[in-house]
Symmetry: C2
Subunit: 156 residues, 2 copies
Amino acid sequence: MSRDSRLSDVLHILLHMAYERAPVTSEAMARSLNTNSVVVRRIMAGLRDRGYVRSEKGHGGGWVLSRDLSEITLLDIYLALGSPALVSFGRRSEAPDCLVEQAVNSNLDKTLQEAQLLMMTRFGEITLAKLHADVQAGIADRRHLAKLEAAHGSTS
Amino acid sequence: MSRDSRLSDVLHILLHMAYERAPVTSEAMARSLNTNSVVVRRIMAGLRDRGYVRSEKGHGGGWVLSRDLSEITLLDIYLALGSPALVSFGRRSEAPDCLVEQAVNSNLDKTLQEAQLLMMTRFGEITLAKLHADVQAGIADRRHLAKLEAAHGSTS
DNA sequence: CATCATGTAATAGTATAAGTTACATGAGTA
DNA sequence: TACTCATGTAACTTATACTATTACATGATG
Protein backbone atom coordinates (compact mmCIF):
# COMPACT_ATOMS: atom_id res chain seq x y z
CA MET A 1 0.00 0.00 0.00
CA SER A 2 2.52 2.59 1.08
CA ARG A 3 6.18 3.11 1.90
CA ASP A 4 8.24 3.48 5.08
CA SER A 5 8.52 0.06 6.65
CA ARG A 6 10.68 1.19 9.56
CA LEU A 7 8.06 0.77 12.22
CA SER A 8 7.16 -2.67 10.96
CA ASP A 9 10.85 -3.56 10.71
CA VAL A 10 11.73 -2.50 14.23
CA LEU A 11 8.83 -4.39 15.72
CA HIS A 12 9.84 -7.50 13.84
CA ILE A 13 13.36 -7.15 15.16
CA LEU A 14 12.42 -6.48 18.78
CA LEU A 15 10.09 -9.45 18.96
CA HIS A 16 12.70 -11.74 17.53
CA MET A 17 15.12 -10.42 20.15
CA ALA A 18 12.62 -11.34 22.81
CA TYR A 19 12.98 -14.99 21.81
CA GLU A 20 16.77 -15.03 22.09
CA ARG A 21 18.74 -14.99 25.29
CA ALA A 22 22.02 -14.22 23.53
CA PRO A 23 22.60 -10.89 21.78
CA VAL A 24 21.33 -10.79 18.21
CA THR A 25 23.60 -9.32 15.56
CA SER A 26 22.47 -6.77 13.01
CA GLU A 27 23.50 -9.29 10.40
CA ALA A 28 21.05 -11.89 11.70
CA MET A 29 18.27 -9.34 11.91
CA ALA A 30 18.97 -8.15 8.41
CA ARG A 31 18.70 -11.70 7.11
CA SER A 32 15.30 -12.23 8.61
CA LEU A 33 14.10 -8.95 7.05
CA ASN A 34 15.85 -9.53 3.73
CA THR A 35 17.79 -6.32 4.00
CA ASN A 36 21.19 -4.95 4.90
CA SER A 37 22.74 -4.84 8.38
CA VAL A 38 23.40 -1.12 8.08
CA VAL A 39 19.70 -0.51 7.61
CA VAL A 40 19.09 -2.39 10.82
CA ARG A 41 21.68 -0.46 12.79
CA ARG A 42 20.30 2.77 11.43
CA ILE A 43 16.74 2.18 12.57
CA MET A 44 17.94 0.74 15.89
CA ALA A 45 20.06 3.79 16.72
CA GLY A 46 17.13 5.78 18.05
CA LEU A 47 16.00 2.92 20.28
CA ARG A 48 19.48 2.59 21.70
CA ASP A 49 19.66 6.30 22.44
CA ARG A 50 16.39 6.09 24.35
CA GLY A 51 17.49 3.08 26.35
CA TYR A 52 15.09 0.49 24.97
CA VAL A 53 17.94 -1.70 23.75
CA ARG A 54 21.66 -2.02 24.30
CA SER A 55 24.27 -2.82 21.71
CA GLU A 56 27.58 -4.56 22.36
CA LYS A 57 30.55 -4.74 20.08
CA GLY A 58 33.00 -7.53 19.45
CA HIS A 59 32.72 -11.30 19.81
CA GLY A 60 29.39 -12.34 21.21
CA GLY A 61 28.15 -8.83 20.65
CA GLY A 62 24.88 -7.67 19.20
CA TRP A 63 21.61 -6.24 20.43
CA VAL A 64 19.76 -6.95 23.67
CA LEU A 65 16.45 -5.66 24.99
CA SER A 66 16.98 -3.57 28.10
CA ARG A 67 13.32 -3.22 29.07
CA ASP A 68 10.49 -5.62 29.58
CA LEU A 69 8.16 -6.05 26.63
CA SER A 70 5.32 -4.65 28.69
CA GLU A 71 7.19 -1.39 29.20
CA ILE A 72 7.52 -0.46 25.52
CA THR A 73 4.65 0.78 23.39
CA LEU A 74 4.52 1.27 19.65
CA LEU A 75 4.34 4.98 20.38
CA ASP A 76 7.69 4.82 22.18
CA ILE A 77 9.16 3.17 19.14
CA TYR A 78 7.54 5.59 16.72
CA LEU A 79 9.02 8.50 18.65
CA ALA A 80 12.41 6.77 18.80
CA LEU A 81 12.34 6.54 15.02
CA GLY A 82 12.13 10.33 14.89
CA SER A 83 8.36 10.67 14.46
CA PRO A 84 8.22 10.25 10.70
CA ALA A 85 5.13 11.49 8.86
CA LEU A 86 2.08 9.30 9.33
CA VAL A 87 -0.18 10.93 6.76
CA SER A 88 0.70 11.09 3.08
CA PHE A 89 -1.07 14.20 1.95
CA GLY A 90 -0.32 17.78 2.74
CA ARG A 91 -0.42 21.27 1.44
CA ARG A 92 1.42 22.98 -1.34
CA SER A 93 2.31 26.19 0.48
CA GLU A 94 2.65 27.01 4.12
CA ALA A 95 1.40 30.52 4.90
CA PRO A 96 -0.64 31.62 1.93
CA ASP A 97 -2.30 35.02 1.62
CA CYS A 98 -5.05 33.44 -0.44
CA LEU A 99 -8.22 33.06 1.61
CA VAL A 100 -9.29 30.08 -0.45
CA GLU A 101 -6.08 28.28 0.32
CA GLN A 102 -6.42 29.16 3.98
CA ALA A 103 -9.89 27.61 4.12
CA VAL A 104 -8.70 24.50 2.31
CA ASN A 105 -5.65 24.14 4.50
CA SER A 106 -7.48 24.52 7.76
CA ASN A 107 -10.06 21.93 6.79
CA LEU A 108 -7.50 19.43 5.57
CA ASP A 109 -5.22 20.06 8.54
CA LYS A 110 -8.02 19.34 10.95
CA THR A 111 -8.66 15.93 9.44
CA LEU A 112 -4.96 15.25 9.15
CA GLN A 113 -4.32 16.04 12.79
CA GLU A 114 -7.29 14.02 13.91
CA ALA A 115 -5.96 11.00 12.04
CA GLN A 116 -2.47 11.53 13.36
CA LEU A 117 -3.77 11.75 16.90
CA LEU A 118 -5.77 8.57 16.43
CA MET A 119 -2.74 6.65 15.21
CA MET A 120 -0.50 7.89 17.99
CA THR A 121 -3.15 7.06 20.55
CA ARG A 122 -3.49 3.52 19.21
CA PHE A 123 0.26 3.14 19.16
CA GLY A 124 0.36 4.20 22.78
CA GLU A 125 -2.13 1.48 23.64
CA ILE A 126 -0.21 -1.37 22.06
CA THR A 127 2.74 -2.78 23.99
CA LEU A 128 5.33 -5.19 22.67
CA ALA A 129 3.94 -7.66 25.21
CA LYS A 130 0.64 -7.52 23.35
CA LEU A 131 2.34 -8.35 20.08
CA HIS A 132 4.25 -11.12 21.78
CA ALA A 133 0.99 -12.57 23.06
CA ASP A 134 -0.42 -12.46 19.54
CA VAL A 135 2.57 -14.40 18.29
CA GLN A 136 2.10 -17.01 21.01
CA ALA A 137 -1.54 -17.33 20.06
CA GLY A 138 -0.45 -17.85 16.47
CA ILE A 139 1.94 -20.59 17.51
CA ALA A 140 -0.81 -22.30 19.48
CA ASP A 141 -3.06 -22.14 16.43
CA ARG A 142 -0.39 -23.68 14.26
CA ARG A 143 0.19 -26.53 16.69
CA HIS A 144 -3.49 -27.18 16.86
CA LEU A 145 -3.72 -27.22 13.08
CA ALA A 146 -0.74 -29.56 12.79
CA LYS A 147 -2.34 -32.01 15.19
CA LEU A 148 -5.57 -32.00 13.26
CA GLU A 149 -3.74 -32.60 10.03
CA ALA A 150 -1.69 -35.43 11.54
CA ALA A 151 -4.81 -37.06 12.90
CA HIS A 152 -6.76 -36.89 9.65
CA GLY A 153 -3.91 -37.12 7.18
CA SER A 154 -5.27 -34.13 5.30
CA THR A 155 -3.50 -31.02 4.09
CA SER A 156 -6.42 -29.23 2.49
CA MET B 1 4.92 18.24 6.49
CA SER B 2 4.40 15.64 3.82
CA ARG B 3 4.07 15.26 0.10
CA ASP B 4 1.17 14.86 -2.31
CA SER B 5 -0.61 18.17 -2.52
CA ARG B 6 -3.12 17.01 -5.13
CA LEU B 7 -6.12 17.08 -2.85
CA SER B 8 -5.22 20.54 -1.59
CA ASP B 9 -4.58 21.69 -5.16
CA VAL B 10 -7.87 20.46 -6.56
CA LEU B 11 -9.85 22.04 -3.77
CA HIS B 12 -8.11 25.33 -4.35
CA ILE B 13 -8.94 25.15 -8.02
CA LEU B 14 -12.58 24.18 -7.60
CA LEU B 15 -13.27 26.97 -5.15
CA HIS B 16 -11.69 29.52 -7.44
CA MET B 17 -13.87 28.19 -10.25
CA ALA B 18 -16.89 28.77 -8.07
CA TYR B 19 -16.12 32.50 -8.09
CA GLU B 20 -15.93 32.76 -11.89
CA ARG B 21 -18.84 32.63 -14.25
CA ALA B 22 -16.64 32.20 -17.31
CA PRO B 23 -14.60 29.02 -17.86
CA VAL B 24 -11.22 29.07 -16.14
CA THR B 25 -8.20 27.95 -18.11
CA SER B 26 -5.61 25.51 -16.82
CA GLU B 27 -3.11 28.27 -17.34
CA ALA B 28 -4.90 30.62 -14.93
CA MET B 29 -5.29 27.87 -12.36
CA ALA B 30 -1.63 26.96 -12.66
CA ARG B 31 -0.66 30.57 -12.01
CA SER B 32 -2.63 30.76 -8.79
CA LEU B 33 -1.00 27.52 -7.60
CA ASN B 34 2.47 28.46 -8.83
CA THR B 35 2.69 25.37 -10.96
CA ASN B 36 2.34 24.20 -14.53
CA SER B 37 -0.87 23.92 -16.54
CA VAL B 38 -0.18 20.30 -17.38
CA VAL B 39 -0.13 19.48 -13.69
CA VAL B 40 -3.55 21.08 -13.41
CA ARG B 41 -5.00 19.17 -16.34
CA ARG B 42 -3.57 15.95 -14.96
CA ILE B 43 -5.23 16.25 -11.58
CA MET B 44 -8.47 17.52 -13.12
CA ALA B 45 -8.80 14.58 -15.50
CA GLY B 46 -10.36 12.32 -12.88
CA LEU B 47 -12.91 14.95 -11.90
CA ARG B 48 -13.88 15.43 -15.52
CA ASP B 49 -14.34 11.68 -16.01
CA ARG B 50 -16.65 11.55 -13.00
CA GLY B 51 -18.71 14.49 -14.18
CA TYR B 52 -17.84 17.01 -11.48
CA VAL B 53 -16.44 19.45 -14.01
CA ARG B 54 -16.52 19.96 -17.76
CA SER B 55 -13.68 21.12 -19.97
CA GLU B 56 -14.03 22.99 -23.25
CA LYS B 57 -11.43 23.53 -25.92
CA GLY B 58 -10.74 26.53 -28.06
CA HIS B 59 -11.47 30.21 -27.64
CA GLY B 60 -13.31 30.94 -24.45
CA GLY B 61 -12.61 27.39 -23.35
CA GLY B 62 -11.49 26.14 -19.95
CA TRP B 63 -13.02 24.42 -16.95
CA VAL B 64 -16.50 24.79 -15.51
CA LEU B 65 -18.14 23.22 -12.48
CA SER B 66 -20.99 20.97 -13.54
CA ARG B 67 -22.39 20.32 -10.05
CA ASP B 68 -23.43 22.49 -7.18
CA LEU B 69 -20.82 22.96 -4.46
CA SER B 70 -23.14 21.27 -2.00
CA GLU B 71 -23.17 18.10 -4.10
CA ILE B 72 -19.44 17.44 -4.00
CA THR B 73 -17.61 16.16 -0.93
CA LEU B 74 -13.89 15.89 -0.34
CA LEU B 75 -14.38 12.14 -0.48
CA ASP B 76 -15.75 12.40 -4.02
CA ILE B 77 -12.66 14.33 -4.99
CA TYR B 78 -10.31 11.95 -3.20
CA LEU B 79 -11.82 9.04 -5.09
CA ALA B 80 -11.66 10.98 -8.37
CA LEU B 81 -7.93 11.44 -7.78
CA GLY B 82 -7.56 7.66 -7.79
CA SER B 83 -7.61 7.09 -4.03
CA PRO B 84 -3.93 7.73 -3.35
CA ALA B 85 -2.43 6.40 -0.12
CA LEU B 86 -3.45 8.36 2.96
CA VAL B 87 -1.10 6.74 5.45
CA SER B 88 2.66 6.84 5.05
CA PHE B 89 3.76 3.68 6.80
CA GLY B 90 3.33 0.12 5.68
CA ARG B 91 4.84 -3.28 5.75
CA ARG B 92 7.95 -4.67 4.20
CA SER B 93 6.48 -7.92 2.87
CA GLU B 94 2.97 -8.89 2.01
CA ALA B 95 2.27 -12.53 2.90
CA PRO B 96 5.01 -13.61 5.28
CA ASP B 97 5.33 -17.10 6.76
CA CYS B 98 6.90 -15.59 9.85
CA LEU B 99 4.44 -15.54 12.73
CA VAL B 100 6.15 -12.54 14.26
CA GLU B 101 5.67 -10.54 11.10
CA GLN B 102 2.08 -11.67 10.88
CA ALA B 103 1.38 -10.37 14.38
CA VAL B 104 3.14 -7.10 13.65
CA ASN B 105 1.34 -6.65 10.36
CA SER B 106 -2.10 -7.36 11.72
CA ASN B 107 -1.65 -4.90 14.58
CA LEU B 108 -0.28 -2.15 12.34
CA ASP B 109 -2.87 -2.79 9.68
CA LYS B 110 -5.66 -2.42 12.16
CA THR B 111 -4.49 1.03 13.21
CA LEU B 112 -3.77 2.00 9.63
CA GLN B 113 -7.23 1.02 8.46
CA GLU B 114 -8.85 2.77 11.36
CA ALA B 115 -7.04 5.99 10.48
CA GLN B 116 -7.87 5.61 6.82
CA LEU B 117 -11.52 5.08 7.64
CA LEU B 118 -11.52 8.15 9.86
CA MET B 119 -10.05 10.33 7.14
CA MET B 120 -12.43 9.08 4.48
CA THR B 121 -15.37 9.58 6.82
CA ARG B 122 -14.34 13.15 7.53
CA PHE B 123 -13.81 13.78 3.83
CA GLY B 124 -17.31 12.50 3.20
CA GLU B 125 -18.68 15.00 5.71
CA ILE B 126 -17.05 18.07 4.16
CA THR B 127 -18.68 19.54 1.06
CA LEU B 128 -17.23 22.20 -1.18
CA ALA B 129 -20.08 24.39 -0.01
CA LYS B 130 -18.66 24.16 3.51
CA LEU B 131 -15.24 25.29 2.30
CA HIS B 132 -16.89 28.08 0.35
CA ALA B 133 -18.69 29.23 3.49
CA ASP B 134 -15.36 29.24 5.34
CA VAL B 135 -13.87 31.46 2.66
CA GLN B 136 -16.81 33.85 2.93
CA ALA B 137 -16.33 33.97 6.68
CA GLY B 138 -12.68 34.78 6.11
CA ILE B 139 -13.59 37.60 3.75
CA ALA B 140 -16.00 39.01 6.31
CA ASP B 141 -13.26 38.87 8.94
CA ARG B 142 -10.88 40.74 6.68
CA ARG B 143 -13.40 43.47 5.95
CA HIS B 144 -14.05 43.83 9.62
CA LEU B 145 -10.35 44.10 10.33
CA ALA B 146 -9.87 46.65 7.55
CA LYS B 147 -12.63 48.82 8.98
CA LEU B 148 -11.09 48.72 12.42
CA GLU B 149 -7.72 49.66 11.04
CA ALA B 150 -9.17 52.51 9.00
CA ALA B 151 -11.03 53.81 12.02
CA HIS B 152 -8.04 53.70 14.35
CA GLY B 153 -5.26 54.29 11.89
CA SER B 154 -3.33 51.36 13.31
CA THR B 155 -1.68 48.47 11.48
CA SER B 156 -0.35 46.55 14.45
C1' DC C 1 46.86 -8.86 17.43
C1' DA C 2 43.39 -11.00 14.61
C1' DT C 3 38.54 -11.15 14.40
C1' DC C 4 34.02 -9.81 15.15
C1' DA C 5 30.39 -6.47 15.60
C1' DT C 6 28.77 -1.92 16.05
C1' DG C 7 28.83 3.32 14.34
C1' DT C 8 28.49 6.25 10.71
C1' DA C 9 29.47 8.86 6.57
C1' DA C 10 29.08 8.74 1.75
C1' DT C 11 27.09 7.03 -2.25
C1' DA C 12 23.76 4.72 -5.19
C1' DG C 13 19.09 2.72 -6.09
C1' DT C 14 14.03 3.10 -6.20
C1' DA C 15 9.33 4.87 -6.05
C1' DT C 16 6.15 8.57 -6.42
C1' DA C 17 4.79 13.16 -7.08
C1' DA C 18 5.77 17.42 -9.44
C1' DG C 19 7.38 20.03 -13.29
C1' DT C 20 8.44 20.60 -18.29
C1' DT C 21 8.46 19.93 -23.24
C1' DA C 22 6.36 18.52 -27.32
C1' DC C 23 2.83 17.62 -30.17
C1' DA C 24 -1.92 16.09 -31.42
C1' DT C 25 -6.90 17.30 -31.31
C1' DG C 26 -10.84 20.09 -31.34
C1' DA C 27 -13.33 24.74 -31.05
C1' DG C 28 -13.95 29.25 -32.12
C1' DT C 29 -12.66 33.31 -35.28
C1' DA C 30 -10.89 36.25 -39.00
C1' DT D 1 -9.54 27.92 -45.10
C1' DA D 2 -6.12 29.35 -42.05
C1' DC D 3 -5.06 30.91 -37.53
C1' DT D 4 -5.20 30.89 -32.71
C1' DC D 5 -6.50 29.16 -28.33
C1' DA D 6 -7.13 25.58 -25.01
C1' DT D 7 -7.45 20.89 -23.75
C1' DG D 8 -5.36 15.82 -23.89
C1' DT D 9 -1.45 13.10 -23.32
C1' DA D 10 2.88 10.96 -23.78
C1' DA D 11 7.66 11.36 -22.68
C1' DC D 12 11.16 13.15 -20.06
C1' DT D 13 13.31 15.56 -16.16
C1' DT D 14 13.51 17.04 -11.36
C1' DA D 15 12.61 16.71 -6.35
C1' DT D 16 12.15 14.13 -2.32
C1' DA D 17 12.13 10.40 0.94
C1' DC D 18 13.11 5.82 2.04
C1' DT D 19 16.05 1.84 1.15
C1' DA D 20 20.42 -0.37 0.02
C1' DT D 21 25.41 -0.75 -0.32
C1' DT D 22 30.26 0.37 0.34
C1' DA D 23 33.92 1.82 3.07
C1' DC D 24 36.22 2.62 7.02
C1' DA D 25 36.72 3.80 12.01
C1' DT D 26 36.04 2.19 16.81
C1' DG D 27 35.74 -0.92 20.48
C1' DA D 28 35.43 -5.73 22.60
C1' DT D 29 36.73 -10.52 22.76
C1' DG D 30 39.68 -14.50 22.40
